[in-house]
């Protein structure tokens, strides 16, 4: 807040929504899948809720040859198909009037001139005041040229911010190189590396759950928690992403970013406040504390044929665009340790995969068993440890498994769930992650974006795991589609006398 604002007594107590400065949003990759499925539906939802600034313009940049009118029609259709709200003619009219399309090859410097021209036009006609939000939804190969061009042509008026989509590199070295390119032209506060998981309400609710409730934090440590299980499971295959997936595998697609971010949020210390740096400082401490798992603590897998939701599906090696002898991983399970005072010797069992039995992202905190339940002998199997289960998706919410007496004679104990269903208590409709993240970038709030040092630590861990994999040739496929992964993943946790949560 500027000093002029802080002196303004009329602002005190004014519960106005956070509003962004006028700005032009430039989407590179504007005809791509991400733009159609996520970015433009999110922009429309923000416009509908009047969360976009009054003076806003959008420039779409892509290779596809088409006119602005054709592109606008395509985006309108995309919003109809993918937005969470009905298309309202008045909102769309207002938004689309400020939309321009530039068809260019990203490597073509002349194309940037056309973009600059479109931006000048928006400044003039829509009053976007020289403020720029660039959204880089492009393949990694186009990244360097675009960033250099943007850096060299950045204006002196207004602010400039960059949203950078994943994948952010393919190993630590390439990520370092990307950071160098970015930081040569932009400061860290201008760079917004997106991990859309952090924009999910339930992931943010993890912070609320831990730090707004006095009952959890005192027991959130090795003394009371037996272990943590984090699952990021997808029932879908790779769709049309074979080219990307063959290079990345699940370890780069999900483990390196979403999964490690969930570990960090679960294990981090309380930040001193909710500013971007305070939160990210605590997350990076966790990532630095992650012990590199040995080969016996990591299981990788690849799906073969099987049945998902009653439908027979192909194995990974039979997917279009995948090599018939591919050794790309579609499943990973690992036992991680956070080597610090709070978590020493408390395992974090994590797993992620494609074509698993169902789509589910959960964080399960399993507490220690009650030390001496007086009815242990008669209660039998019913006496299970308490589990706090955070459903990230679907069925967003939190449930606590507790033992309760079955009514009647005797002392039979059965596990029951106390459920908090997010959509039930707050019926405002959960915003899409991209809505929150795009709005935050416009506001300059980087709390829910990953910082360079976080990315660096995440890659360091992934590189060490991948290095070990290079020494052996796996026997793939090793799990059937529609199951919970290879048998070795069960062995990984059974060795410790534990088991994966029942689904």
């Amino acid at each position: 807040m500027s000093s002029a604002q802080s002196e303004n007594p009329l602002l005190e107590g004014l519960r106005l929504r956070r509003s962004a400065d006028p700005c032009a949003i430039v989407v590179f990759g504007a005809s791509g899948d991400l733009a159609r499925r996520k970015i433009f539906p999110a922009l429309y939802s923000l416009a509908l809720r009047r969360l976009l600034p009054e003076r806003v313009g959008i420039v779409g940049v892509a290779r596809t040859e088409q006119t602005t009118a054709q592109w606008i029609a395509e985006m309108k259709q995309a919003i109809k198909e993918h937005a969470r709200d009905e298309l309202r003619a008045d909102v769309w009219k207002d938004l689309s009037e400020g939309m321009r399309y530039v068809s260019t090859d990203f490597a073509d410097a002349h194309g940037e001139d056309v973009v600059v021209e479109a931006l000048r036009d928006l400044d003039e006609k829509r009053g976007t005041a020289g403020n720029r939000l660039y959204y880089l939804a492009v393949p990694p190969a186009a990244f360097e040229t675009i960033v250099n061009e943007l850096g060299q042509r950045r204006g002196t008026e207004g602010w400039t911010r960059l949203i950078v989509e994943k994948p952010f590199g393919h190993d630590q070295e390439s990520a370092k190189r990307l950071n160098e390119i970015l930081l040569a032209h932009f400061s860290e506060s201008e760079i917004f590396r997106i991990d859309h998981y952090l924009g999910k309400e339930t992931v943010q609710n993890m912070l609320a759950l831990r730090f707004a409730n006095g009952i959890f934090e005192p027991i959130w440590n090795r003394q009371f928690i037996d272990h943590v299980q984090i699952t990021v499971a997808e029932s879908m295959g790779i769709g049309g992403r074979a080219a990307f997936y063959e290079q990345a595998g699940v370890i780069r697609d999900v483990f390196q970013n979403h999964l490690l971010q969930l570990v960090a949020l679960t294990a981090m210390e309380p930040p001193i406040d909710f500013t971007a740096d305070s939160v990210r400082n605590e997350k990076v401490k966790v990532l630095k504390s992650l012990h590199t798992p040995g080969p016996k603590s990591v299981v990788r897998g690849q799906y073969g044929r099987g049945f998902v939701e009653g439908e027979e599906v192909r194995g990974y090696r039979e997917e279009d665009g995948v090599a018939t002898d591919s050794t790309t991983d579609t499943f990973i399970a690992a036992k991680l340790y956070v080597d610090n005072w709070r978590w020493a010797d408390t395992p974090f069992y994590v797993r992620a995969g494609k074509r698993l039995a169902r789509r589910e992202t959960t964080i399960a905190i399993q507490f220690q068993r009650a030390p001496h339940p007086p009815f242990a002998e008669i209660a039998g199997d019913g006496l299970r440890p308490n589990v706090l289960l955070i459903h990230v998706q679907p069925d967003e919410g939190v449930s606590l498994a507790i033992g309760a007496k079955v009514p009647g004679a005797g002392m039979n104990i059965r596990t029951v769930h106390m459920d908090f269903l997010y959509g039930g208590a707050f019926r405002t409709g959960l915003p899409e992650a991209y809505e929150r993240l795009i709005l935050d970038a416009m506001l300059g709030d980087a709390t829910l974006f990953t910082r360079a040092d976080e990315v660096d630590e995440q890659w360091a861990l992934v590189d060490s795991i991948v290095a070990a994999w290079k020494r052996d040739r796996p026997s793939f496929p090793n799990y059937e589609a529609g199951t919970w992964g290879p048998r070795a993943a069960d062995d990984l946790i059974h060795r410790d006398g534990r088991s994966w949560r029942r689904h």
Binding site: N8, L14, G424, R427
Partner: protein, 275 residues
Amino acid sequence: MSVVTQVERGLGELRLKRAEGTRTSVMTHVAWAPPQWEAAARKTLAGLEELHPSRTILLFPDPKRPDGIDVHVDLKCFTVEGTSHEVCSDVIELRLGGKRTRVPGSIVQPLLITDLPTFCRWRGLPPWGEPELEQLVDVCDRLVVDSSEWRGLPGAYEELAKHFDRIAVSDIAWGRAVGWRGRLAAEWPAIKKMRKLSVTGPKADALLLAGWLRSRLRKEVQLSHRASEQLEAVAVDGEAVPPPRGGPPNPSDLLSAELDQFGRDRIYEAAVKSL
């Protein structure tokens, strides 16, 4: 059978029929709606139930009816978007007749949900000093009024201000003007020198805007008011202030916004006291 027993039994039977529905409440919402406000109260609640799942206790007082309490209970259930889960909230309608209209506190208290905040929406002008108001002020955490429903302004604000130390107060007329207050705040620092505020809109909204400016700027602000159903125009020293974006919010959204507030609103209190 006592009122509480009738309510619990009725809700219990309904819950058995809808065994799959999860019960959810984030508050107890008490609404006091004399006969002339009943239709409006129902309409507002219909738009509110989905946003704030709560145990709603609708009190319909009518001293002319025979002494007694008629009980009607219902469950309002909604399917959670994108899931097959159903979430249900309790709706308790109590028709108070005769002397029972004077003792709502004792009727409501055993029906409140423990440990959740209780909001009381009072339709129309509260009967200052009367037991029905005093009792509900004592059992609720927040009193929600809409001073544009009142006659006798600005005098009634003086009576309202006497309750500020007893209960947090929300005024929907105040919430309705938040966009205009934002616009006026954007006129800083030029607005420091203002002398006259012109408002076309409900009298309550105009008075509250003037009171707000007087208390925040610590100076006398002259008010010129033209009556209108909606808050349509605001001018400072003859210069029109650009209107806020979007149309006027609907009554459900306004009440919903007030139900999200928990503490005292000192800025509102200061605005009221300066009238």
